[in-house]
Subunit: 452 residues, 2 copies
Amino acid sequence: MSGVLPRVVVIGCGFGGLEAVRLLSKAPVEITLVDRTNHHLFQPLLYQVATAGLSAPAVSAPIRHVLRKEMRRGNLTILQGEVTAIDAARRRVVLDRADDPGGNSLAYDHLIVASGSTHSYFGHADWEAHAPGLKTLADAFAIRARVIGAFEHAERCAEPAARDPWLTFVVIGGGPTGVEMAGTMTEIAQHTLRGEFRRIDPKQSRVVLIEGADRILGTFVPMLSQRAAEQLAKLGADVRTGCKVTGIDADGVTYEARDGETTTSHRLAAKTVIWAAGVAGTPLGRNLAAATGAQVDRAGRVVVEPDLSLRDHPEIAVIGDLAAAMSHGKGEPKPVPGVSPGAKQMGRTAARNLLRRLRGEPTQAFRYIDYGNLATVGRKAAVVDLGVPGLGALRFSGLPAWLFWLFAHIYFLIGFRNRLTVMVDWAWAYVTYERSARVVAEPPSVAPHSGF
Amino acid sequence: MSGVLPRVVVIGCGFGGLEAVRLLSKAPVEITLVDRTNHHLFQPLLYQVATAGLSAPAVSAPIRHVLRKEMRRGNLTILQGEVTAIDAARRRVVLDRADDPGGNSLAYDHLIVASGSTHSYFGHADWEAHAPGLKTLADAFAIRARVIGAFEHAERCAEPAARDPWLTFVVIGGGPTGVEMAGTMTEIAQHTLRGEFRRIDPKQSRVVLIEGADRILGTFVPMLSQRAAEQLAKLGADVRTGCKVTGIDADGVTYEARDGETTTSHRLAAKTVIWAAGVAGTPLGRNLAAATGAQVDRAGRVVVEPDLSLRDHPEIAVIGDLAAAMSHGKGEPKPVPGVSPGAKQMGRTAARNLLRRLRGEPTQAFRYIDYGNLATVGRKAAVVDLGVPGLGALRFSGLPAWLFWLFAHIYFLIGFRNRLTVMVDWAWAYVTYERSARVVAEPPSVAPHSGF
């Protein structure tokens, strides 16, 4: 039976790929889902793993476990592997693993590419070693090791002057991730580590957030950007907008600050720098474009048709962060923001359009439904911008926004168990200021930058 | 004030080092604790991290947090770093980190060495790459990645025959760790992964426990070894005693089986091999012996005087797994077993003897008080051997032993939060057969052996 079903390959089990698979598993198609990891990651809370507030299993779930119901329908195969190329002419996906000749490529009739995004250093590849970004659990562990390790390093310095760069933390990029990282790192220094060191006072540490534009959280209305900046400052972070980073090395960050027509160059001596400034489509996007004649935008995202397919390859759809997709609602088409609801909605549209094609029906254009925008700043601090149908915009900040953010994230977490874990961890952290995952697994020699 | 206090350096924050620091922090001494990680590890539950049952933060705690009360007494400095040598003549401990000349050595008046043990491959260093051991959180993550990855690898094999070695798991060594690993891996294959694969049936996998002696759990009475073997077999593990491993490579294990006077050679094709057979003192033991003229035994443990100090260096004590210590109770001195109560008791004795020396009093010989021995086999399966004063030996197995084991381990876990986490996780796992930490952080290419 399954031999005659159309073969669908889905690449990537993020928010978009997962939705597509869930929907397709109910249809008469034979699905193969390929992901390079064994888990679906709830990326909105990944910064909490990086800042030692949550353990990795709390914000992720094994793909096989998440999809166990769909597995029972009998038309889904899950393979862990890395897609190295797409052979659009032969309709095959090429996987890694040369040791298994029969298992290193997959034939498809329909393909959904949802491999997501990675960091972009705007042409400065050498910055990556000094300023890691945050996309995977491995990234989060590496950042956790650096942040925790920096305080340890400072405590070991015999020379007081040598301690300062270890106690200066720079976050580059004032989007939601940068704001979350800066706010949380301030809390660690001001509260969590209190009284736990002898030679240094963690409260003397500085967290600097550098943003190129004139305000942080540029996707929000200016009033909420302003509120977020005020809340960050109140927590103790040093927010510097209108500052363009021009260099990052092992000892710090160089940036240019604009003030009207004057531009001044500045240097921050800092051993810990986090990159939250730019994302780009995974390399598979350019590979796919080369194989299909599709265009990629400057951020390496694949330009798709209104129905999310490729112009000359209607059997291929690109969704989520890898797609340069437009929302086709009333009025002019608008770009879809790179947030999880966008990826989920694209996953559903791509799956439905695939089934429409199988039935010989015309496909439909993607329309993004925007339920709003929220970002947390830190303890009791967040901004929320909701579009409530019939009520217009609802905007608030501070404690109510923070509570809204908390419950929204717990609600959308996958798995009852993870929801329970995160709720208990957050309640505990709220009362005690402790962070439950302040453990660095690797002996420090594993972290290449720390040197001890 | 602190300049005139005797300087005590403690190396290692395992069970022994932690107890010594806790006791010494109440005395007029200036303590520096050095550990290569930032956490105290509850090693008896480390196998649960390796088998994806618990997250790393559940079985470990930041040293600074564990010792926050002691920190407040004002005479404790905690440094994260690796001790590379002990200069006993100059009474200095040499640390890594050449970049900080002032910070790379520590002067001491008294030294307690508690750096613990590592794996021993009995002269076969090449086995390590194929059969990792379990001592650190990094080890546990590596084993977790291999065990979870093996099922993923099997699912990707196009050739059914190629799957078998990926579905064969070998544990070498039938001590408590080996028994725990074998029992838990059986549970994963038989229950946890049920229904989550398409091409393979995890229940078809095999877990083989290889032990050189004639029975597993050799430190228990033969009756309990027998019970443990029966319980393991009932769970589905294949226990092979009297088998001596002669080779380990990337494709499996070769061993010789004794049967009376006949010895036969066997080969097990297995891609996942866990080493639980031998431990040895950390390399610092030999370094210390060379610096002080102390003896090391065959396992690299430092031979100590009855009071745990070194013969020609009464200012140095060695405790825990690094010490070849004897218990001086009634009758002949007996070797101290390498279990956590032994390390804790040595930590207290070493600290008390140090304070006795400061007061000019004679030191006392170490006496190990044996409260019993327990090991878990798997779900509802364990063996317990208690020495109850006045009642003699109390031995039991099966469900009562398992419950006793559960509560004893929760009781001795450090930190209320960890106790709560572990209790909730275990209750959840008991009901659902799920394992809460089935997430492998690294993309598989990081694990050198898996190749995908």
